[in-house]
């Protein structure tokens, strides 16, 4: 086990496997974003052997109360490039009691909602965001604008 904090943006090993063996389908699966308050998480933030979102301390997970606002709409894998893209995300009314969040995760939503973190795989870890992370939620919306360059959200 090794912390992912401080190592830069990366895919979780479980997601590499998922895309490798075909259990993940970026085009058709449902993906959602959550922030993580590393200081609240029992492990100090995501670890490279984390697989499901319940590996993160529940109180450390910060997101919109409206589930649809956490989702990445229109996920698309660009043919031939291995690049994952999707609509920008606007989480609504995000609050963390004035504390900052240091990590952003993309997870796969299983079961039609985000109430069962034990079956939602952790896919992408982001801590570098063009100098805009960490962020301190203030109860307002948080916009996540994916890169418009070659790699979009991520590239396999």
């Amino acid at each position: 086990m090794a912390t992912m904090v401080g190592s830069g943006n990366a895919l979780f090993p479980i997601s590499r496997n998922g895309f490798l063996v075909g259990t993940f389908d970026w085009d058709s699966d449902t993906w959602f974003c959550v922030f993580v308050d590393n200081s609240v998480d029992a492990q100090g933030g995501p670890q490279d052997d984390d697989d499901y979102l319940d590996d993160i301390t529940a109180g450390a997970i910060v997101k919109s109360a409206t589930e649809s606002a956490n989702r990445i709409a229109s996920p698309v894998a660009t043919d031939g490039d291995g690049v994952a893209d999707g609509n920008d995300v606007t989480m609504t009314s995000v609050n963390n009691g004035g504390a900052a969040v240091e990590s952003l995760l993309i997870c796969r939503e299983i079961g039609g909602d985000q109430t069962t973190p034990a079956n939602d795989e952790m896919v992408v870890f982001i801590e570098d965001a063009n100098g805009t992370m960490p962020v301190t939620p203030n109860g307002g919306d948080i916009e996540i604008q994916w890169d418009n360059g070659a790699n979009k959200i991520f590239k396999l």
Binding site: P13, S93, F125, G140, D141, E143, Q145
Partner: protein
């Protein structure tokens, strides 16, 4: 190894190997040619033996990456390299310590831009 104590010379159509100044071997050039080839071949085998682990690791890395370059003709080392390559590619290997020593992933996670908007004010639409 005191390799400098060995001198190799030629006299007529013969090759002479002298050790510590004394002729130790005097052979026709055809035999010397055969000897050179045999020494070369055995040198390769000895080097493979001495560096087997490195050769297997490098060959496995190439195999796993799909690079069709052979580093050794030794079937034993090739077999070991294939097993090692399979290990590198097996699902879940990234969960192990071998991640650090394995093939770096070419995956790239881009950097998004995060913007925190101010909270919405209740009734703020009302004209001030």
């Amino acid at each position: 190894m005191a390799i400098e104590a060995i001198r190799i010379g030629a006299e007529g159509d013969k090759v002479i190997i002298a050790i510590k100044g004394r002729p130790a071997l005097e052979i026709p050039w055809q035999h010397a040619d055969q000897l050179w080839r045999a020494i070369r071949q055995k040198t390769i085998h000895a080097r493979e033996h001495a560096q087997a682990a490195i050769i297997v690791a490098d060959q496995a890395t190439l195999l796993a990456a799909g690079v069709p370059v052979g580093l050794t003709g030794n079937p034993v080392l090739q077999r070991e390299a294939r097993k090692e390559a399979a290990h590198l590619l097996r699902p879940g290997f990234l969960n192990t310590k071998r991640t650090v020593e394995g093939i770096p992933s070419a995956a790239v996670v881009a950097q998004p831009t995060i913007t925190v908007r101010p909270p919405r004010q209740g009734g703020s639409d009302a004209p001030g």
